[in-house]
């Protein structure tokens, strides 16, 4: 299904875990350095209200004075767990794109403030780079370097799977519980083989 700007709370609350979406609009990249910086109370150089933030450190090069995205897949999101809930609350972020999922604190903030976690396919840097149709700008580049900067990407049909929704559901939480239960069975099997 399509998820197009403006990213309203209503559209976001309609989404359910397992939905495969194609995102069109503006997304802002932000990863470790940016999350820490904003969480410490520094002002955002861009308006993040109702925005989608993308955990991504892209490869971007300047060709004939135009930024060209060479590779732009997601980075592991769980590192931002200490910061994300506060940013969702402060800016009313509507979406967080990343990989690997996030924890209980973020899930709570998603439910309370109307935000979803959108799991992109990790490592699929070329498929995802093709969906960035324009680079609208870059911020904090001097301070944090290219992979850690805030890149303003205009995307069209950017594919992702909703894995945490506004209703308290998390595929990550459920799968961890199921695989851990299965692991206990496997351990018992290994113990039986020993005797």
């Amino acid at each position: 299904m399509r998820l197009e700007a403006p990213f309203t709370e209503e559209k976001i609350r309609d989404l359910r875990v397992g939905d495969i979406v194609e995102i069109s609009g503006i997304v802002f990249t932000g990863r470790d350095a940016v999350h820490k910086y904003l969480h410490e109370g520094n002002p955002s150089p861009v308006d993040l209200t109702d925005a989608i933030i993308y955990h991504c450190g892209p490869v971007v090069v300047k060709e004939k004075n135009v930024w060209v995205v060479k590779a732009a897949g997601p980075t592991t999101s769980i590192r931002e767990e200490p910061h994300e809930a506060a940013l969702i609350e402060r800016y009313h972020l509507r979406g967080v794109i990343g990989k690997g999922g996030m924890g209980q604190k973020t899930l709570g903030a998603c439910q309370e403030h109307g935000c979803v976690y959108l799991h992109a396919i990790g490592g699929a840097a070329q498929v995802l780079a093709e969906k960035v149709v324009r680079v609208r700008g870059v911020h904090l580049m001097e301070r944090f370097g290219s992979p850690e900067a805030i890149w303003e990407f205009e995307v069209e049909g950017f594919p992702a799977v909703v894995t945490m929704d506004t209703h308290g559901n998390s595929i990550h939480k459920d799968l961890l519980a199921a695989s851990t239960a299965r692991l206990q069975e496997v351990f018992a099997e290994i113990d039986r083989e020993k005797v």
């Binding site: 980075t75 070329q126 799968l175 961890l176 695989s179 692991l183 351990f187």
Partner: protein
Amino acid sequence: MDRRTLQPSLLELIRRTSAELPDDIAKVIRRSLRTEVPNSTARYAMEVIQRNIALAKKKGLPICQDTGSILFFVRGPLGLRQSRFREAGDAAVAEATRIGYLRQNSVDSITGANAGTNLGPGSPTYHFEQGPGGQTEVRLILKGGGCENVGTQYSLPDTRLGADRDLAGVEKAILDAVNQAQGKGCGPGILGVAIGGDRATGYLHSKEQFLRRLDDRNPNRVLARLERSVMARANSLGIGPMGFGGKTTLLGCKIGVLNRLPASFFVSVSYMCWAYRRQGIVMDPRGRIREWLY
């Protein structure tokens, strides 16, 4: 070895490693795609992965934007000048970074500064070894941070896992590592495992397993059996591609063994993402590429 021929050879090695998945890996990915249920998110993930592999190759651009730690494994004849090789390797890395085969990916651990060249203490990493004959083999692994972060080391016995100092304990440790990783290491993944060694040699040996072809057979029969068992059991956990759930949690498992001290029993587990960037070249005495290894 002539710097003027060596440096372009290493640049080409970096380009191809970053942009093209070796055939042994691509084959297993194609096979596992077909085992996932049509219209499932697991199948969807595998299809995007498949598309990405083809696109990166066509464009000659990085498969994944995290072009990772740059690990060179060099086997050369007596008389291979290591300092000269390093110079050529460093220059090739800086050039590859400028072109965009590699991301500006190396950061000063104290200041956080990124010099933008991928050069600095420990980057790139070179492992030299003396080999027979006059030829030089260079293998390169580009290992991303997401999968590196889920690597882990167990010291047996481990009471939490009920893992003793035996093969059953080793298998429990390996499977626990897979469960802890979930989708965070960009699964389906490939494990490199070392039993024994000290903490440093164990991790190194676990990474050396990634130099093995995915379709090889472990010459040690005990380890070959353990590899098969880990594969079957890990894939029964249901974690699936990207941790979306599904049948393919691991694409491969390679296990090596080192002697240990009586007091120590380490199990070192390295996890490689599906974007398994590993290539190798055989060079002639002047440093020209004669053959690709994978």
